[in-house]
Amino acid sequence: MISPSPPEDRPHPGSFRDPSGFLFRRDGVLYRQVNAVYREHYDAFIGGGLYKTLTDAGLMVRHEEVDVPPAEPATAYRIIRPEPVPFISYPYEWCFGELKDAALATLRIQKMALERGLTLKDASAYNIQFLGARPVLIDTLSFEKLRMKPWVAYRQFCQHFLAPLLLMARRDHRLGQLSRVFLDGVPLDLASRLLPPSTRLRPGIAMHIHLHAASQKHYATRAVELKERRVSLVSLKGLADSLERLVLRTEFRLTRTEWGNYYKGTNYSDASFEDKKRIVAEFLELVKPRTVWDLGANTGVFSRLASDRGIPTVAFDIDPVAVELNYRQVVKGKEADILPLVLDLANPSPAIGWANAERDSWLARGPVDAVLALALVHHLAISNNLPFAMVARTLRRTCDRLIIEFVPKSDSQVRRLLETREDVFPGYTQKEFEEEFGRDFVIERSVPVKGSERTIYLMKARDDRA
């Protein structure tokens, strides 16, 4: 067991903010309890047809009402079993395109809800998950009956979606990482300061970020009496429409060099590259994993060897540009089984939120059946000074089968890494690699890649080291 799962029949530790209900797990199955206080809204959501409209449009996870004893009978109205999501990912792991599509999905949902007399009461990015290239809303309790009041989730939408998108597009794409620090989205005063001054002249950004932040500042220390004010339906639709137009216009532009760099820059000849693909495919056929993580996936060429076989595959890479290119390919091909995510393996997503339990760490979301670690180990061992033993120990926690490539010091890619640093890695040899990995894994196969000095291994985790 990698990390303790929530205790049986207890609310999920990340599901406590909303009094409308909560998630709980029983016998390994995830359920959602709908509380009696939410009855009126839940009935309107289901009975009014919005649930059907959204699920038919592929914007919402399906659920089934089930007849199982509630986790907290005193407050319960219904128990539902939502369709499981293969891998839970978080906004700070999404590339620009994923965050943008999640934002657009949220706004489309809000517009459809308004048409049916309902509104989103939450616009949290954590309520969106990816089923392949498709962003879906997973929180069935996100709606309430429309009462012609201001959109209660407006600030949340701006903080969770708009601010990080604009910062990534107009300042630096690495600013997407701010979502990891600020659990409730990027504070708008911070976004306002970080955005280029010229954005004050863009009406959409000026309104939803700069004016919004200024108004927050203005009222932060003033006691004001807020009278209940009505907002017309057309204004609410206009608000969603204005946000949608702004998000649609926000683009992540790649320079020509950035594009080009991903098509060259490997030292593989075409023949070696094809041989490497053949070996990995053969290992996948042999192992038949049900789930795969590709670590250091780049734009996902090798991840697709798994996902094209219908295996749910998460393609992690440290480089947001590579992940963006991968995601664009996923969208273009309407690929269902691959999810590209940004992850720094040397500092992976931690457990965050209240009691470090609201959002799981990267390791806690495993293990999977098989991990691909191709052209990766030299980056960990040489660029990050990680001893083989530590790499093996951690990879042991992520999978049962490991498909890993060893890249020797004589390889031009490793020589390049060593050009700018002192060679303090006398232990970086194939023999040492096999010995250290051999403590955590049984080496089942090893195949040299034709026309290169590299070797690809198939390893099985040792049970006694679990």
């Binding site: 306002s192 500042k217 009222y219």
Partner: protein
Amino acid sequence: MITIIRISAIALAAAFLTPVSALAYIDPGTGSYVIQLVIAAFVGVMFSLRIFWKKIVRLFKKGGPGEPKADDKPLAP
């Protein structure tokens, strides 16, 4: 309406004259509520105008020679 204009004037001035400080996230809720009333009123009007404009454009397009009208469809036998 006068209140809304006053609020927007203050907010506009604040946005363009002073850098926003970290104080804002002590209670960002009130400011978000107030500014939304202003923004929603404004974008609501724009939204209505756009829909109105689209309708006019469609009307002219419909009236054009190349475009068959909905009523022109042959009746089902």
